[in-house]
Symmetry: C2
Subunit: 121 residues, 2 copies
Amino acid sequence: MRPLIHPAIEDVRPEAIIHALSDPNRAAIFAKIMRAGCVQACSAVAALGDRVIPKSSLSNHFKVLREAGLIRSERHGVELRNHSRWAEVEERFPGLLPAIINAYASNAPSGAQGAGPSKGE
Amino acid sequence: MRPLIHPAIEDVRPEAIIHALSDPNRAAIFAKIMRAGCVQACSAVAALGDRVIPKSSLSNHFKVLREAGLIRSERHGVELRNHSRWAEVEERFPGLLPAIINAYASNAPSGAQGAGPSKGE
DNA sequence: TCCCATTGTTCGGAAATATGGAACTATGAT
DNA sequence: ATCATAGTTCCATATTTCCGAACAATGGGA
């Protein structure tokens, strides 16, 4: 098992962040990590809306978020705890995260607050 | 030749915009269209920085921007004129475009044909 | 008119990336 | 030691992207 990779904030590339959040599932995961008080185990987001995400896919989504510089993951026993790196990213790219999270939220169909996968149009 | 597809602003989905701009080339093209006074022929961006983009790739980049709702293209004789839909998109997703364009611009090394207004120097 | 230069689109195959089931690893508990 | 839990890795399939080449559409001559 490879060690977890966390880029230094100055190495974070805007396209990596934007690409990571261009997937509604990942954006929803990231929004959830933030809303959860900045700490969230991976398994806590096993489902988004009505859709169950396979754990191999989930693992990959967390990896993308991590390597983009959006979250920091620490092992605690058998689980990972994921912290949002919001403050760092916000300082480096002001307004980027709020605007993206907001865009998804304002497009959300029902009471699904935050960034959720759209289930129709 | 199919007609050009321009989604109504209310049908524009945030993930489409974010995905379109998650490619640095497309973000640079979009930024250039804005800087050029909101009208630009496709051929005017045949090269970005030192890289020449094949025209089939360029055609596809413009298509992605268009169908994401970021630009509007009109045929004028043999060429297309591309207008940014900034104002509409800004109203629908406030702050999204400035934040993304700014993120690329603030990351651009000197001289690189980056996206957006330069920040300092 | 016919020909041709210019602009952009479409096609098709190769390369890259994403998805998810199954097997695996690592840790804690009994 | 054995088991359960939480994530990772492997790998085959599916989807997307890239770009050269052929094509289409328009305008300008001769």
